[in-house]
C-alpha cells in the first residue's frame, strides 16, 4: 500500500492557519479581559469557555447551520465573496477557530494575570499607551504562556474530530484530515493503515507536548534564577 500523507498535511495546514488566526484574535481579548474589572467579566469568560464543555456535535451543528445558505451569515458570505463555507476547507477553518478558541484565550489570559500589577502600572507611568504596554512589557514577560497557548491550540486542532466531521465531511484533499482518515480506515476494516496513522499521531503529539514542557521548564528555571 502506498502511504498517503495528504490527511496529515491537511491537518497541519489547518492547525497552522487556525493557530495564527486565533493568536491574533485572542491576544487582544485576553489582554482586555486580564485588565478588566467589569462585573460582566464572568459572563464573557463563561461564554468563551463554552467550546471546552459542549459536545463537538452541538458546536458542529450550530456551525453547520450558521455557515450554510439557510442562515443570513452563510448566505451573505456566499453572495458577496462567492465562498461556500460548508463541506470545504474554509468551513473547517471557521469551525476549528471556534472550537479551539478557549485553548488560545485561557493560557494567554492567565499569563497576563500572573504579571505583577505594578509592572503594568509602571509602564503607564512611563507614559506608555495600552498598546505599547502590551507590546513592550506584557508580551515579553509571558513567553511560556504564549508558547503553551499556541502549541496547545495547534495540537487541539490537529486532534479534533467531531466538529470537523460535521462541518467538513470527508472530502479527500479538502476536508479529510488525519483524525477522520483514521475513523474511515477503522470503518472499512483497514486496521493496518489505522495502526500506522494512529501511531504517527501519538508520536507527533508526544514530541510536541515534550517540547512545550521542556521549554516551560527552562523558562521557569530562568525565572527562578532571577
Amino acid at each position: 500500500m502506498e502511504f498517503n500523507y495528504e490527511p496529515f498535511l491537511l491537518s497541519f495546514k489547518l492547525a497552522s492557519i487556525v493557530s495564527i488566526i486565533l493568536f491574533l484574535v485572542a491576544l487582544p481579548l485576553a489582554w482586555k479581559l486580564s485588565q478588566s474589572r467589569s462585573k460582566f467579566k464572568p459572563i464573557y469568560e463563561a461564554f468563551s469557555a463554552l467550546p471546552i464543555v459542549l459536545p463537538p456535535t452541538v458546536l458542529g451543528f450550530y456551525v453547520l447551520f450558521a455557515l450554510s445558505q439557510n442562515s443570513p451569515f452563510g448566505a451573505f458570505i456566499e453572495e458577496f465573496l462567492g465562498i461556500k463555507l460548508v463541506f470545504n476547507f474554509y468551513g473547517l477553518i471557521v469551525a476549528s477557530c471556534l472550537y479551539s478558541f478557549p485553548f488560545m484565550l485561557q493560557p494567554l489570559q492567565s499569563g497576563f494575570e500572573s504579571l505583577p500589577k505594578s509592572l503594568i502600572e509602571a509602564s503607564y507611568l512611563c507614559g506608555k499607551s495600552n498598546f505599547q504596554t502590551l507590546l513592550h512589557v506584557a508580551l515579553p514577560n509571558i513567553k511560556s504562556s504564549i508558547m503553551t497557548a499556541v502549541v496547545i491550540t495547534f495540537a487541539h486542532t490537529v486532534g479534533e474530530f467531531g466538529v470537523v466531521l460535521m462541518v467538513g465531511g470527508s472530502i479527500p484533499g479538502e476536508t479529510k484530515v488525519a483524525s477522520i482518515a483514521i475513523y474511515e480506515f477503522v470503518e472499512t476494516l483497514d486496521y493496518r493503515s489505522a495502526h500506522i496513522y494512529s501511531a504517527i499521531m501519538v508520536f507527533i503529539s508526544f514530541v510536541v507536548l515534550l517540547l512545550v514542557y521542556i521549554f516551560n521548564y527552562k523558562q521557569k528555571k530562568v525565572e527562578f534564577l532571577r
Binding site: 505594578s118 509602571a122 503607564y124 507611568l125 532571577r226
Partner: protein
C-alpha cells in the same frame, strides 16, 4: 504649590474607613508620610499617580490632575513612582528600563553615574541586588523629569547600611533635580534625616503636618530623652528586677523600680526616659 484634597471610602482589615486628606505642599520640598499600616498612605500615593480613583481635587502647580470634571490618565501625569517591589521590567537591561521612560540618553547616563550604576548599565535588571534595583527604580522614575516623585517605602526592604547610603543618594538626587517628593516611610529616623515636612496620617486623616523636628522629637519638659520600647523579658537578679526592652533595633537591660515590676508584663509598650542625668554621647566606629 501642590494642593491635594481627596476623599475615598476604603475597606481595610479593621473595617470601613474614610480616606480624607487635605494637604498643601510647597513646590520643591521633600515631604514624608508616616502612619500605621492600613492608615491609607499607599492609597494616597496611588491616587496622586492616578492609579486609583477618588473624589476631590489634585492641583499640581496649576495643572489639574483631577477634579469633579476630569481625571487625567496616569500616563499623562508628570509623576515618577517608585513601587515597593521596584517593578523593573525583567525583559530589559538597566539602561533600557531608563530609556523606556524617556529616550534621553544623556540624562540616563547622568543618573546612572550619580547612583554608581554606570558599569552595570547593560545587565538585566533581574540579576541585581535589592539596593541596586531600588536605585534603578528611582532613576527610572526621574527620567521623565516629573513634577512630583512618589516613593512608597522605598528603603524598607534593605539592610541598615544600604538604607543609609541610599538615603543620601535620594537626598542628593532631590537636591539636583529639585523634584517635589512625597515619601511613605515607617522610620522616624529616616524621615528626620530626609524631609522638610512630615505628615502623620491616622485612620485616613492628616493628624499633624509640620517640620519633622517639631513633630517627631518626643522629648518635652525636663526629660532629656525618651523612647518607646517593648518589654521582651523580665527577670530577677538578686533582689532587683531587670527588664529586657527592645527599642527600635536595639535591646537594652534596665533595672526596674519595685513599684513598676508588678504593673509590667512581657509584651507591654513602655516609655524609657531619664531626667536627672545627662545622657553621654560618645562616638563609636
Amino acid at each position: 504649590m501642590i494642593e491635594i484634597d481627596i476623599k475615598k471610602g476604603l475597606r481595610g482589615f479593621k473595617g470601613d474607613m474614610n480616606l480624607d486628606i487635605k494637604l498643601s505642599i510647597t513646590r520643591g520640598s521633600f515631604v514624608s508620610i508616616l502612619g500605621k499600616s492600613g492608615s491609607g498612605k499607599t492609597t494616597l500615593l496611588r491616587i496622586l499617580a492616578g492609579l486609583e480613583s477618588a473624589k476631590g481635587r489634585v492641583d499640581i502647580d496649576g495643572d489639574i490632575w483631577q477634579d469633579s470634571k476630569k481625571m487625567v490618565h496616569p500616563r499623562d501625569r508628570s509623576v515618577g513612582f517608585v513601587f515597593q517591589d521596584y517593578a523593573l521590567f525583567p525583559n530589559m537591561s538597566i539602561i533600557e528600563n531608563l530609556l523606556f521612560a524617556n529616550q534621553d540618553e544623556a540624562l540616563a547616563k547622568k543618573l546612572l553615574k550619580m547612583t554608581e550604576l554606570s558599569e552595570l548599565k547593560d545587565t538585566l535588571s533581574t540579576t541585581l541586588s535589592g539596593g541596586q534595583q531600588q536605585r534603578v527604580a528611582i532613576c527610572r522614575a526621574l527620567m521623565r523629569k516629573p513634577k512630583i516623585l512618589l516613593l512608597d517605602e522605598p528603603l524598607s526592604a534593605l539592610d541598615m547600611q544600604m538604607r543609609e547610603k541610599l538615603q543620601l543618594e535620594i537626598l542628593n538626587l532631590h537636591k539636583t533635580f529639585k523634584t517635589t517628593t512625597i515619601m511613605v516611610s515607617h522610620s522616624p529616623n529616616e524621615i528626620y534625616k530626609m524631609s522638610d515636612f512630615v505628615a502623620i496620617i491616622e485612620d485616613g486623616k492628616v493628624k499633624k503636618y509640620g517640620n519633622p523636628k517639631e513633630i517627631l522629637l518626643k522629648t518635652s519638659g525636663s526629660q532629656k530623652f525618651s523612647f518607646r520600647g517593648r518589654v521582651l523579658d523580665i527577670h530577677r537578679a538578686d533582689i532587683l528586677h531587670v527588664a529586657v526592652i527592645a527599642i527600635d533595633n536595639q535591646i537594652v537591660e534596665i533595672v526596674l523600680d519595685s513599684n513598676e515590676t508588678d504593673r509590667l508584663k512581657i509584651g507591654d509598650s513602655v516609655r524609657v526616659s531619664t531626667k536627672a542625668f545627662s545622657p553621654i554621647v560618645s562616638k563609636i566606629d
